[in-house]
């Protein structure tokens, strides 16, 4: 009897489940960043809005990367239904605080997937996940650095103006 299970099912169902869960999380993050971009735009923080529009795009790309991985492996990728996300914020700092919280949650989830891969000896998916582990180092760094601008510059009108100027240049150039 042919091993159809192995020929057509590359991934264990537990791995498919955690990746589908991650697809949903990335979609939710993308939506949450979009809401932040909208808030910033309405408040007149154009550069911060651009920053979050870009973040939203990034999360969407991550979502698709996971989605394509599942379909490439002949597994069922589920297009997620996204719940409501936060649209109101106290101030600009609150927006960036929320962004860091999102990134930390995503990092934890990525690490959990790697843990699941190790549990099931899924070396291929663990290898695939390495890109996301590195990506999260970058994402968390940027979210932290953005938040640090508030500590360094303050939160008065002039400081917020300076944060607006600096936000688009916050980047991560690797662990050099």
């Amino acid at each position: 009897m042919k091993d159809i299970l192995r020929r057509h099912q590359v991934l264990k169902l537990e791995i498919v489940d955690v990746i589908n869960k991650q697809i949903k999380m990335e979609a939710h993050s993308s939506s949450a960043y979009l809401a932040m971009a909208g808030w910033c735009d309405l408040q007149g923080y154009d550069n911060c809005a651009d920053f979050f529009f870009k973040q939203s795009e990034e999360e969407r790309k991550h979502q698709l990367k996971f989605f394509h991985y599942l379909t490439d492996m002949e597994a069922q990728a589920i297009a997620p239904a996204i719940g409501d996300c936060q649209h109101d914020f106290e101030n600009l700092r609150d927006v960036f605080e929320t962004a860091l919280d999102i990134e930390i949650s995503v990092t934890d989830a990525i690490h959990d997937i790697v843990g699941e891969c190790r549990k099931h000896t899924d070396i291929a998916t663990e290898e695939f996940m390495k890109w996301f582990v590195q990506e999260q180092i970058e994402e968390e760094y940027i979210a932290r650095r953005a938040l640090e601008l508030f500590d360094v510059l303050g939160e008065d009108k002039i400081a917020l103006g300076m944060i607006e100027e600096k936000i688009l240049s916050v980047s991560y150039d690797g662990a050099n």
Binding site: M1, D3, L5, H8, Q9, E74, Q76
Partner: protein
């Protein structure tokens, strides 16, 4: 009976239901209702998921009829299942996947190792 069915081997069966696989087309046949359903592996997995996710307690305690309607894809008939049929499918699909995993282990430890 089609030629596909003749060349298929039983994977798992209960008194009323069985799943067989055809090595040539690499598809499965669920012999459940009058007409066997031809399913790809991903569809079989999808069916198992849907059957497992049915909340039997809610179904029993609901005011409506004790049936669950399942839609698989346009290629398959809509399944209208009684509680007994849901339990029957759960058993046969669970047994099927246990046997498929066992077959996979055998292939890994014997056939692929020596090829």
């Amino acid at each position: 009976m089609s030629s596909k069915l003749i060349s298929s081997a039983i994977v798992f069966e209960t008194l009323a239901t069985s799943v067989s696989q055809c090595d040539r087309s690499e598809k499965f046949f669920l012999h459940f209702l009058e007409k066997p359903m031809e399913l790809k592996l991903c569809e079989l997995i999808g069916l198992k998921r849907k059957i497992e996710n049915i909340d039997l307690t809610a179904l029993v305690s609901s005011q409506g009829p004790d049936i669950e309607i399942l839609y698989l894809s346009h290629q398959h008939p809509i399944l209208v299942l009684s509680i007994y049929e849901i339990l029957e499918l759960r058993e046969v699909l669970s047994g099927t996947f246990t046997m498929l995993e066992l077959n996979s282990l055998i292939h890994k430890s014997i056939h692929r190792k020596f090829s």
